[in-house]
Symmetry: C3
Subunit: 155 residues, 3 copies
Amino acid sequence: MSIHKQTNTVENRLKSLGHDLPPPRRPVANYVGCKQSGDLLFVSGQIGDVRGAVGSDVTKDDGRLCARQAALYMLGTVKGAISDLDRIASVDKVLGFVRSAPDFTEQPYVIDGASDFLIELFGEAGRHSRTATGVLQIPSGASVQLEMTFRLAPD
Amino acid sequence: MSIHKQTNTVENRLKSLGHDLPPPRRPVANYVGCKQSGDLLFVSGQIGDVRGAVGSDVTKDDGRLCARQAALYMLGTVKGAISDLDRIASVDKVLGFVRSAPDFTEQPYVIDGASDFLIELFGEAGRHSRTATGVLQIPSGASVQLEMTFRLAPD
Amino acid sequence: MSIHKQTNTVENRLKSLGHDLPPPRRPVANYVGCKQSGDLLFVSGQIGDVRGAVGSDVTKDDGRLCARQAALYMLGTVKGAISDLDRIASVDKVLGFVRSAPDFTEQPYVIDGASDFLIELFGEAGRHSRTATGVLQIPSGASVQLEMTFRLAPD
């Protein structure tokens, strides 16, 4: 039995869920994908691939898929910045913007697409505080945009 | 004169203002009501009981009441997580979303319903940084949604 | 050659860019302009001078100017609170709300008005994580509202 710490736990779970970690996305403007500050890691807004207002252009399940996509892209960006996703000690905070039809009020259902995924990957450490709200527009017309704050394990 | 530290200061103030602390609200989706990270406590988005867009469906004073309600529910949730509200050393940050009619621009007036309340309860430690903005929709069609960050006293 | 630490670096750069630091803005409601919590400085939402929805009432370049204005007002507020802008060790996080026409999706272009400015002033330490999204309304009908988190150098 190895005395070495198990490595790549999060990435192995990603693979077992059928996902490849995408390469870091280049920021679309003059900011960085994430910024470390003390033990906190502030991650920039990330969109998924689905386009359109949830509740009119696309269904709430399309929106939920978009939230999961955005979370996966976010992890690709974080991997590019910190090299090893196992350095994430906890997911602290998720802010989820849902591009919403005027009468669409199920933003929590949509953002669960990201939250479920984070808990599948990180277990208890993935349980996070969260706000999900409904906005008029999102860059590129995406259906969901996520912002996250992680805590990193001390070096 | 007792040498014991005065306890339940915040809850006693709540009572003197005529409020009972509500029980913690169960999150409506897959997240936790608040998450401690170091000395920071990130509190999830919380809505009040008023429904409708401020400036059309409901008045700005209805919205202000909704902000106070949301803050009260939030404290019930925090109490459930940290047991004693006197552990809160300061209210650091409030993000207030106001479901707004297209031409409604008095979001600061609305969110003062929460800010006034926090300062009544916590005194100087309750003075916080804040952003109040106008969104298209909020979960359950609520008029106001709040997100907060507190700092906890060291154990 | 002086052994004294160079001072007023950020304010000197502001002057070389042709800007005077504005006086701190009085909060429009019951909150404080910024709040220090440990080494973090949470700065309240700040608007620029341009009014109207970006993409209909005003152009995206008007919006970009508004973002730069908001960042400048924010620095005036921070200066009033911490006395010396050189105490800022890094710009950690920017949240940018763009009052958007329903079909306007270039929020990142708009918020670059603030991001470019911060990087001109603070150099590498000014590179930040960021989320830019599109909201229905903003206090006073402004085109852009910014919220920021800074890290302060230890005393």
